[in-house]
């Protein structure tokens, strides 16, 4: 009866396989106790070094705790966010993760109930007194605060190669208007120099150029109006900004689509082009190349944006049902502390969210940025997910991708109008 016996074995095996596949997930739940899982997309040299400063700040408070560093490489979190979304939807959150304030924090994570308020930390640690109210407002919903910021980048920077400009008899003062930029650009173009460098592989760098130009034309007040619906994307001033943006694109490098943002910054350093509109993470590139502030390179606000400070900030949150709550509270306290902010920000190239830090630890650019942080109107960035839903951010990137090749202002503004409509959280439009 070999056949019968084999059949029985086969049957048993197949049933066992089925049983194992059904029961397996139940057995994976053991977790070590004294841990902290930190999820971020800080993997490049300077970023990872900055993250280590945060870990050191936490380690000083909880020496015995083990940090699980769940970083996922990929510019701007493009690869990390899908993983995070999957983990949140699956009910398996990391203790804390990197987040931008504004819509990304409030609309994406607070609204969906994935994070807990940390308002009591703001009271017990006295952060409300040392961080600007305008900044805290971008993390507040219904009186509760949901994140603490490690550092703040300024998005509306306009960088230039100082030596190259003076060779062509161009000097830039403490600010630059659109007219002055176009005059300088014509002069450079006539001399065979590419005036503006853009590295828009992945398109967001060109979207950032548009964001800064739009802010420069409409001003901070109407900028905020764009996000609460009181200013439409087909209004005349928005279209005017689009026209100016189109004009600026006429001066950009021909290989822009093949370059990343840092390669474009590098071209400014090498002198193969003159200007670059970029957030102050570009400062890190100049700094790492050992160029000297105000000598080799200079900066102003992007044309028209002197009175504004585009916030591109990185914060951390407390996950709802975080597996290691106690450690996480210490982690957030460490991030908000003066010592950690002073250690983290010079490495990361941003300025502290606290205004009471020792300014001598920072160079000329960051002191300039801290002055702007104190006096300018703080506005959220749309390119970095703070001003509008992710769906609109994507619609903006898509519209910019098309505009860069066809320069059609009407189609551009129409695409943004419908992008805003599609992104509105209401249902059944």
């Amino acid at each position: 009866m070999i056949r019968k016996r084999y059949s029985a074995i086969a049957l048993a095996l197949s049933l066992a396989t089925a049983a194992v596949s059904l029961l397996a997930p139940a057995s994976v739940s053991a977790q070590a106790d004294n841990q902290l899982e930190v999820f971020s997309w800080w993997t490049s040299g300077g970023e990872a070094a900055a993250l280590d400063q945060l870990f050191a700040g936490f380690g000083a408070r909880r020496p015995s705790a083990e940090i699980v560093n769940a970083t996922i490489a990929g510019g701007g979190g493009s690869a990390a966010r899908p993983v995070l979304q999957t983990r949140l939807a699956g009910g398996n959150p990391p203790d804390t993760w990197q987040v931008h304030p504004g819509w990304e924090l409030l609309g994406q994570y607070v609204e969906a109930g994935y994070v807990e308020p940390i308002t009591e930390l703001y009271q017990s640690e006295g952060w409300s007194q040392v961080m600007p109210q305008g900044l805290i407002d971008t993390m507040t919903r219904d009186g509760q605060i949901y994140a603490v910021l490690a550092g703040v980048h300024r998005g509306n920077g306009f960088w230039y190669n100082k030596k190259l400009l003076s060779q062509h008899g161009i000097s830039v003062g403490s600010s630059l208007s659109f007219d002055e930029f176009f005059q300088a650009a014509d002069k450079l173009k006539a001399a065979g120099i590419t005036p503006l460098c853009v590295g828009d592989s992945g398109i967001w760098a060109s979207a950032e150029l548009f964001e800064n130009t739009l802010l420069g034309v409409v001003g901070p007040e109407k900028w905020m109006g764009l996000w609460n619906g009181s200013v439409a994307f087909d209004s005349p001033e928005v279209k005017q900004a689009m026209t100016i943006y189109g004009r600026m694109l006429d001066y950009q490098n021909s290989d822009h689509a093949a370059l990343s943002w840092d390669q474009a910054t590098k071209k400014v350093m090498e002198g193969s082009c003159a200007f670059n509109s970029m957030g102050d993470w570009a400062y890190g590139e100049f700094h790492n190349a050992r160029l000297v502030d105000n000598e080799d390179f200079g900066w102003v606000s992007h044309p028209g944006t002197d009175g504004a400070f585009v916030i591109v900030a990185d914060g951390f949150v407390m996950a709802r049902n975080a597996p290691h709550r106690e450690n996480n509270a210490e982690w957030l306290k460490a991030i908000g502390s003066k010592e950690t902010q002073e250690a983290f920000n010079p490495v990361k190239g941003s300025i502290p969210a606290r205004t009471d830090v020792d300014r001598s630890k920072f160079g000329p650019y960051h002191n300039w940025s801290m002055d702007s942080f104190k006096t300018a109107t703080l506005v959220p960035s749309v390119v970095h997910g703070e001003a509008a839903p992710a769906a609109f951010q994507q619609a903006l990137n898509d519209a910019v991708t098309t505009f860069v090749t066809n320069h059609n202002v009407d189609a551009f503004s129409q695409a943004l109008v419908s992008g805003m409509r599609a992104a509105a959280p209401t249902t059944g439009l």
Binding site: T17, A258, A390, T401, T427
Partner: protein, 348 residues
């Protein structure tokens, strides 16, 4: 195991049917489905139920991180929105153009290589492996390497300069050859005007129907990787064609060209169909090669539905839109696979 009598007596046989042996027979019948059931169950859950779920998600209002399974009204609104997007229109155009370019290139190169290898027996095994080697690479590796090759400032254009091609062209009064490759936003041979004359509805298209120049390098890279596979398939096909057939054609006075044109290539037709189906569905689902090589490209010149799904789902968190685009991809792939499967089932 004692040997059983070959022809059991009638009584024994009757007894078997009446007693325990009846269970044995039914167990014999039940066993195949029982053994298959775990894999059938897995197939049902992980393929068909997931397809159904995707379709369901595409009908819902789910477009933030928070799951929302209410049905969107009017029905199919997400699909309407998607087909009206210039980006998705460009994606469909790119899929068709990429598939045609890539299939034509890969199959032509594969056939030529196979015929050459079939002729020259010396070093055949070595060359067969050399040409098949790219097939073993990951699309990501291919994408990164070919992105460097087609970089307009540092890649193959430098070769035009140092080999003197450009100085020659300059001497002839033609400008230097410096194509923008992956950065070229042009769409050549656009047929929008002609199409609008036939179908007035085509006026509503927001995308130029033509060949995006930046898509050509991606098709070259894909063909480089997969023409070795086409070659291997054709080699197998060629070895199955008996030499007598070719001899007979030659005896009838056919030239070598005619032998191939009239006898060999027509006899390879089943192989050609198989290659077209296998490469065709690879091409319709392509994501990694293009993502690594050029991303969405200038003005969506190299965007494909796979990248659209990824960005709309995970970057824009528009799960319903991503699901709708996935479903359209499934329909596209089915359009290629189902007729092929139906045909091979009929042949069986």
């Amino acid at each position: 195991m004692p040997s059983m009598p070959l022809a059991p007596s009638r009584e024994v046989a009757a007894a078997r049917v009446q007693t325990g042996q009846a269970r044995h027979i039914s167990l014999e019948h039940l066993l195949p489905p029982l053994i298959l059931s775990p894999s059938l169950g897995a197939l049902l859950i992980f393929v068909y139920i997931f397809i159904g779920t995707t379709f369901f998600v595409s009908m819902t209002n789910w477009r933030t991180l928070a799951i929302d399974t209410s049905i969107r009204q009017p029905l199919f609104a997400t699909y309407g929105e998607m087909f009206a997007m210039p980006r998705f229109q460009a994606d469909l155009r790119n899929t068709v153009i990429f598939t045609v370019l890539f299939l034509a290139l890969a199959m032509a190169v594969g056939l030529v290589l196979a015929i050459l290898l079939d002729h020259h027996v010396l070093g055949r095994a070595v060359f067969r492996n050399v040409f098949l080697f790219p097939y073993s690479l990951s699309f990501i590796v291919t994408g990164v390497v070919w992105r460097w090759i087609f970089n307009p400032e540092t890649g193959v254009n430098v070769l035009f300069d140092i080999t003197g091609v450009n100085s020659l062209l300059g001497a002839l009064g033609v400008g230097p050859l410096r194509p923008g490759w992956l950065t070229d936003p042009q769409v050549v041979l656009a047929v929008n005007g002609a199409l609008a004359r036939v179908f007035p509805a085509a006026e509503g298209l927001q995308v130029q129907l033509g060949i995006p120049v930046a898509l050509i390098p991606t098709a070259i890279a894909a063909a480089w990787q997969l023409s070795g596979f086409a070659m291997a398939m054709y080699l197998a096909g060629l070895s199955a064609i008996p030499n007598e057939t070719r001899e007979a054609a030659r005896m009838d006075g056919a030239s070598e060209w005619q032998v191939y044109r009239r006898v060999v290539v027509p006899m390879l037709r089943p192989i050609t169909v198989s290659i077209a189906v296998i490469l065709g569905h690879t091409s319709l689902k392509i994501f990694d090669l293009i993502f690594a090589m050029s991303g969405v490209g200038p003005g969506f010149a190299t965007d494909v539905p796979g990248i659209f799904v990824f960005e709309q789902t995970f970057k824009a968190t528009r799960y319903n839109l991503g699901a709708a685009a996935s479903f359209v991809m499934l329909v596209l792939v089915s359009a290629v696979i189902v007729p092929y499967l139906a045909r091979s089932l009929k042949e069986d």
